[in-house]
Amino acid sequence: MSGAHVSKLRKPLVPEDKTYKEISHEILDTLEEKPSKSWLICFSISALVLTLGMLTIGYQIATGIGVWGLNKTIGWSWDITNFVFWVGIGHAGTLISAVLLIFRQHWRTAINRAAEAMTIFAVACAGLFPLIHAGRPWLLFWVFPYPNTRGDLWVNFRSPLLWDVFAISTYLTVSLVFWYMGLLPDLATVRDRTKSAFRKFVYGVLSFGWNGSNKTWHHFEVLCLVLAGLATPLVLSVHTIVSMDFATSVIPGWHTTIFPPYFVAGAIFSGFAMVLTLLIITRKVLNWENYITMGHIEAMCKVIVVTGMIVGLAYGTEFFIAWYSGNEYERYCFVNRATGPYWWAYWSMITCNVLSPQFFWSKKLRTNIPFVFVISIVVNIGMWFERFVIITTSLHRDFLPSSWAMYSPTWVEVVTFIGTFGLFFTLFFLFIRVLPGIAVAEVKSVYRFARENK
């Protein structure tokens, strides 16, 4: 594998010359080694935060939703904000693996595994909120249409919340199998490399008896394509449906036909930002600079600029339509967002989402890793505010001024939200410890891209 020829037009996706074996080793050795100190610290903090979050949720379920800061006017706030926030983050992974697969974007191979894992963990965090936001979560199984003793009382298929149930569960399970199918060859590699009998057994079970047979590879590639084909509309549908929670309602600020594309763009925006955040950490911690290259980071920055501008356009369009519609409630709602008691949330959103990505026009800035890291976090903060603005400021002043009210979160909501970060990072740190964090087989398959063998 020595003496690779380097293309003049494109840079190879794996910049340094490696053997396939070296690739395997560099990526998979983490799984064999004892956990590093930094990993242990990160993991412990995450697990601690997760535990705190879970205890808080336990307290909330035992006592009642009243421990949150909601009221008769504002029935949703942090709970659904966090839900939409996490669902949004959960979009980039599938998008990277599915859409980019269909478009044959080979650079995706280095990041798709982690991004997909992130998707699943984010969707798990998201799914938590609809569960715990219910007044009687122990009865939530009623949302499934199963035969029952109540004269077969079914569910309301007209409810966007029910659409959510189907959309989120479909998305979660399809993402999960998609991700897991992709893992099979790599798990087999781990299984065959490891010396430990225990690992051999565990990865043996997990790898489904994969042996690299080309008959299987053939079906496998078709399967990936099919799943990618299904996941692409799916990923668009999920945030579309989430946006319909609001778009199909009558509340000014919610009742907006622009929501589906606006939400999807926002989701990609926030998802890519989160992928950036995570991968910047991971490539540093695991020394994967060779696989997750500056090219990847730049590409993602460009996606962020584009989606950020789409989101900005959506903000402008919303405002324009509210004025143009002549509907006094709509008009008031949007003026209230910008100038009402929650003006700071609105302007935080604008600053973080529309202004901050503009820095990425400059190549200097978008190749400055600490800067990119900061902006990626800023974008996520902005996207959280976007959902908060949509949900809370629309609700707090709707039609009848007599019911106008204010909202502020309690410690329970704050800790629960932080707790989901605990869940997310606990899962993520576990993932990079026990599963191949980069799709080894796929990296190998694109290793020769823009590089010719002698």
Binding site: N148, T149, R150, G151, D152, L153
Partner: protein
Amino acid sequence: MKKFVGALVALLVLSGMGAYVIVQARSLGSNQGYAPDQPVAFSHKKHAGELEMDCQYCHFGADKGRHAGVPPTELCLNCHSKVKTNSPEIRKLQNAVDSGENIQWVKVNHFPDFAYFNHAQHVNVAGFDCQKCHGPVEEMEIYEQHESLNMGWCISCHRDNQIAPPEDHKSAAGGDCAKCHY
């Protein structure tokens, strides 16, 4: 071929298990057939069957109001102050009235309190026989819950008997949730 047979068997076993779970789940919480021992060995068979007493002689609330009611102990003594006064079971009644310590009957038909049921609606207005819901009480030595009394059971009857009200009463509203739940 073997694979197919195996898969088929597995499928059959799985669907069988599923069906079993569904059937079991559907009878969950139902108390059908519940026939507890009562503190007084009262026989509906004797009173309602052989003696052909009218149900509403004792359960006089059934025609008038929400509850059919367990009859006041004094009511039993209308007859039993003369009839079979020596029976130890009857003496329990007399003792109860004398001492003021009431007899604790065991409730058989249990309705959850989120479901409103009105006897008068069914007995007086719809004109149903008691047996329609309570089964052949006149044959029961020990009274038992004859029907499942779950919502599906209520609903099936409400569907079958879209009770035609007298001309002027309009909507029987037989299927509305708020017929029972409020």
